[in-house]
């Protein structure tokens, strides 16, 4: 601890010295450069927002015309009806597929990652530091690798069984590290005085965790879960090759399904203009779902911050 402080003091002294020497220079030139720097970073922020707002604008402008009750509630129409060409039907099969895959993945991933977060939080051994780095590496691993893994481990051994369950496994494996990292951070954020007080009263560690630490950390754990879900909903690469496709609404986890991201991928490759354009409609539904999850999690986080004060 004292080492860190020394380093800080040294660094501060260095900065002070540096700042003093620069202060001798011409003031007008300095304020000119200062203004330039401010302008530069502001322009950088502005430039950063150009493509990003262009994306949101395009999704809204070209996606909104598609949004209707029938778009959300009728399944995909394919092959196109010769009496009604240029109609894509709806996307209810894809919406159901996404809900099925991500819902089941959530059911699998949440208990595992909460317990894993608790385990990481509770222990300080060497094994755990290895496990922690494993989790952190998994967080950033390209998600296509999970699709490749599930293909070899699940789809092929079961006789090329493309099904929603394969996607569920891939998405669950993708979610667990994300939720675990967020969950552990949430647990670490709980004031140590609370758990120490409970331990001092003689409560077992399990009881402290269940009754004191977890309830306190719950909003932030929920935040992490919703954020991971938001990321999972938009993932295309891991499920593209393993869930098959289905024109009809299918709730059976062992049947083939179409999910919203894979439907976008499929329509984008279509040679028909009206199908390519429909990508925007699906994209809008997808973005609205993801943003809703994010806003809810933000709301939860803000409320827990307020409750703490």
């Amino acid at each position: 601890m004292s080492l860190v402080t020394d380093a800080m003091v040294e660094a501060r002294a260095e900065h002070r010295e540096m700042v003093r020497s620069t202060a001798r220079r011409n003031y007008r030139r300095r304020s000119f450069y200062s203004g330039m720097f401010y302008a530069a970073v502001t322009v950088a922020l502005g430039i950063a927002f150009i493509p990003l707002s262009a994306i949101v604008y395009n999704v809204l402008k070209r996606g909104l015309p598609y949004i209707s009750w029938s778009f959300l509630t009728t399944p995909e129409m394919d092959p196109p009806d010769i009496f009604h060409p240029h109609q894509i039907g709806g996307i209810s099969n894809a919406i159901v597929g996404t809900i099925l895959i991500d819902g089941l993945a959530l059911l699998i991933a949440v208990p595992i990652s909460v317990i894993l977060a608790v385990a990481l939080f509770e222990s300080r051994g060497r094994t755990m530091s290895i496990l922690r780095s494993y989790v952190e590496i998994m967080v950033g691993l390209p998600s296509i690798l999970l699709g490749v893994f599930i293909y070899a481990f699940f789809v092929v051994p079961l006789g090329f069984k493309y099904c929603a369950m394969a996607g569920v496994l891939a998405i669950a494996i993708m979610m667990v590290p994300l939720m675990t990292v967020a969950g552990e951070a949430a647990l670490r954020d709980v004031p140590a005085t609370l758990s120490e007080a409970a331990l001092a009263l003689g409560a077992r560690p399990s009881r402290v965790m269940w009754r004191v630490v977890l309830p306190f950390a719950l909003p932030r754990v929920m935040t992490g879960i919703l954020l991971s879900l938001g990321r999972a909903v938009g993932e295309t690469a891991p499920i593209l090759f393993i869930i098959g496709s289905n024109y009809a609404v299918n709730w059976n986890p062992f049947g083939q399904v179409t999910a919203m991201p894979t439907l976008i991928y499929k329509y984008q490759q279509s040679s028909y203009d009206y199908q390519r354009e429909a990508c925007w409609g699906i994209a809008l539904v997808l973005i609205v779902a993801i943003f809703t999850l994010n806003v809810i999690s933000r709301f939860l986080a803000a409320r827990s911050e307020k409750g703490r004060k």
Binding site: H15, R20, T42, L45, A48, I112, F149, A152, Y265, L286
Partner: protein, 326 residues
Amino acid sequence: MTVAIDSSGDTTKYGARRGGKTPTGSDLPYRVVLWVVTGFFASVMIVFAGSLVWNSIPGWQAAGLYFFYGTTWDSTIATFGALPFILGTLITTVLAVLVAAPLGIGGALAIVFVIPRRLRAVVSSLVELLAVIPSIIYGIWGYLVLLPLMDQKIQPWLASKTGGHWPFAEQGVGKGLLLGSVILAVMILPTVTAISRDVLAGVPHDLVEGALSLGATKGQVLAKVVVPAARPGLIGAVVLGTARALGETIALTLVLGGASPLHPIPTNLFATLDTLATSIVNNWGDLTGSTSVGALYCLALTLAVIVGTVNFSARRIIRRSARRLQ
């Protein structure tokens, strides 16, 4: 006392807990559950890594070291040279990071120090929302909006202005290195900005105030105090963005155009190419026999090793900087 019964009478154990020892006798089911789930997760991860390695063996047998220096990828003659894909991954990532790192860090500086305080929360939540836009949407934006623009306007304009000299070419097809790098830069920009903002917001205020009180201009404070103090964290943010760029799959599949058989290694900005991740997707169609499947797993394994290394170092850098700032 009931307390003593509850904790099996040995309260000193709990005092030792913070020091690294955990009580086992009193709370066995809890410990067992934690260990079982941890073990389950660890075994899934081991199976995952093992499966990548195991399935890639036929690929290594067929390709050998040619995988790393060969330039021909043709599953019909069992020739698997992945050098163009490895180079493609590196080139797209480097170009994207060169664009996204200054913009992201500059934008983060603007969010934390420049724009009015009232806007700060709104802008930073906007950036975080943009960071969660799925890559398929960046992909269709690139494919349906930027690609026609690139094909009909930007590439001809660049070619006519530069006379088709390197790094540009006389003509392009829209898809290719330039478009892919732009999309990739746009994709990692919110990530870099959001993480940099967190790092910059963590710079101790007394450093800033000390510099200001000595007469430094605001710009000097940012350039000479804040950025150096936050440098390890900023590097970490950029490296995390790099890791994301290296593994990006779907968006790039749509805009890179695929490696051309004659010139698989991109030599100019208009050339079409493949990265490791997109080549997995693009070669998924012709899964004939175990060798070509194995070769795909070689690609996956190479990608995993590259991204894993980059990520691991990023985490270490960020953790070290967090420790330094405390």
